[in-house]
Amino acid sequence: MLHYTCKRIALALLVAITVSFLSFMLVRVSGDPAYALAGENATAKEIAFVREKYGLDRPIMVQYLDWALKALHGDLGQSPYFRENVSAIIGHRLKVTMTLGASALLFALTLSIPLGVLAAIRPNTWIDRVALGISVLGQAMPSFWFGLILILFFGVTLRWFPVSGSSSWRHFVLPTIALGYYATPAFMRLTRSGMMDVLSSDYIRTARAKGLLSGSVLFKHALRNAIIPVVSVVAVQLGFMLGGSVVIESVFAVNGFGLLAYESIARADLPMVQAIVLILSLIYVLLTLFADVLNALLDPRIRVA
């Protein structure tokens, strides 16, 4: 277990370093970032000034190491738009998005796991078809459009929930549904197919031959095994959802990380964009690391080597 965890952490570190380099390089794909930072109508002199001010005249690896070392100490650079350190701004925004992501995840799991299990134990019945329908429709629904439809229906027609902002829990209901629905198909399909596989396995037959009642066959013997692959996908999907918050937060004007990302891209706030890509990637790396360790705890075949 210790060996496995160490190996897994080493891999995570390597990925983290690579993504930090990629997010650093990302803002340089267009060429010289000094042009973007100085603004559209900057003179050559202004550009040269910006280049020197941000240290853009140094070799690229030196710039990267400088940025990465500072980032390790929590200094992600100055935002030219806010005229403040990036780290000071993102903290609160990240909290908003984490709340949204967590509630969306909770919504997706409470919808998909019971439905997936029911569909697996009653295949080819109406409940299975409902589950299939939800997952097929969910996969095809553009998330931003689904968000707009939710606004039209629940916000404008029914007037149940506010349609934009993030000042109370009621503001989070519609974004939670829009974001959570996006991950539901993956969870449901995986729960269903995992459960079907497990239910036809030899150890379930053994459990039934022991005279166990269907409840304990289902919950003690089947669900535990079926849920293991779902755990890793939960981490992956939560990562995707945080990325997807860019779209959903723009639709609902939720003042979170995603909206900040969108606005920063629109106003070419490069240090901010860099920092946001880096942080979202690192969160993903941490989530998958956490999921793998959790998986090992759930599955003795990994834990007890």
């Binding site: 097929v136 095809a140 459009w145 039209l152 404008v156 890509v277 990637s281």
Partner: protein, 301 residues
């Protein structure tokens, strides 16, 4: 001494269908596949024939006739069956031309990512060892980067144009190709017919293209449909956020974005393009699921 009667089976003969017949039977009974293929065929025809089907020029602005209601409203007119947008452009015409953009971007981005992802996945699965370690690392790293955010940033910095959106998406969404092709190839690598080909001295390329590829093609097609759907959705999201296809091109995502301004008074401006976008993605997904069910019947019925 055996009479003819006795050597025949003691049970009435039942004819088992041939594999081809069974596949045909599964196809015509698979409503998802049929529905998906049907919708996709219609959209494809519409996209190809857009210049002949469209009642108006999709770029022609007519500010005097802006926001005309569609035909199902009392004041709708047959001149503009789906009404006009905020700049007075015929909505039906823009919708028809928009199908071209979605299909083009979806197919092109999917093709780029298929080439990248499939070659990485097959190489990793077939050669294993260090190749596999490197490819797995690349997949992990790629998955760590938030697609929509990176795509937004790149397109915003480099400037949105059709080829740009296609390239960026194509370079970003190869992960599922790589993952699926890697595991499929790993499963087949030690199959008897691959070993037999090796034993008879076939070259590596010959084995990969002659023996391996035909057997992983079904999976490749299924992933291709999923990724095409994903590319279409991503393009729509990018365009919706104003950083994908640029106006005045009629992208469905862009139409929703432009209609958002008026959606509280004329909701059909977002409902119409959203619905066709949804239908297109649904059709492609149904087609992909259908191909998987038909070619691999041990999966979901």
């Amino acid at each position: 001494m055996d009479s003819k009667k006795n050597s025949s089976s003691p049970f009435p003969a039942i004819s088992f269908p041939t594999p081809g017949q069974m596949m045909w039977r599964r196809t015509i009974h698979h409503w998802g596949f049929l529905l998906g293929a049907g919708i996709l065929a219609v959209i494809l025809v519409v996209a190809l024939l857009a210049p002949y089907l469209a009642p108006c020029d999709p770029y022609h602005q007519d500010l005097a006739h802006r926001l005309i209601n569609p035909i199902w409203h009392a004041d709708g007119t047959w001149k503009h069956p789906l009404g006009t947008d905020g700049l007075g452009r015929d909505y039906l015409s823009r919708l028809l031309y928009g199908a071209r953009i979605s299909l083009l971007i979806g197919f092109a981005a999917m093709s780029i990512s298929a080439v990248i992802g499939a070659s990485m996945g097959v190489a990793a699965g077939y050669f294993g060892g260090r190749v596999d370690v490197v490819v797995s690392f690349l997949i992990t790293t790629r998955l760590a980067l938030p697609v929509i955010l990176v795509a937004l940033a790149v397109v915003a910095l480099v400037g949105g144009s059709l080829p740009m959106v296609i390239t960026v998406l194509g370079l970003l969404i190869w992960d599922r190709f790589a993952v699926v092709m890697r595991s499929t190839t790993q499963q087949l690598r030690s199959a008897d017919y691959i070993n037999a080909a090796k034993a008879t001295g076939c070259s590596t390329m010959r084995i990969i293209f002659g023996e391996l590829l035909p057997n992983i093609l079904n999976n490749l097609i299924v992933v291709a449909t999923l990724e095409m759907a994903r590319a279409i959705l991503l393009e729509a999201a990018l365009s919706f956020l104003g950083m994908g296809v640029q106006p005045p091109l009629p992208s469905w995502g862009l139409m929703i974005s432009e209609g958002k301004e008026f959606m509280f008074f004329t909701p059909w401006l977002i409902v119409i393009p959203g619905t066709v976008l949804f239908m297109l993605v649904l059709a492609i997904n149904l087609l992909g699921d259908g191909i998987r069910d038909i070619t691999a019947p041990e999966g979901r019925s």
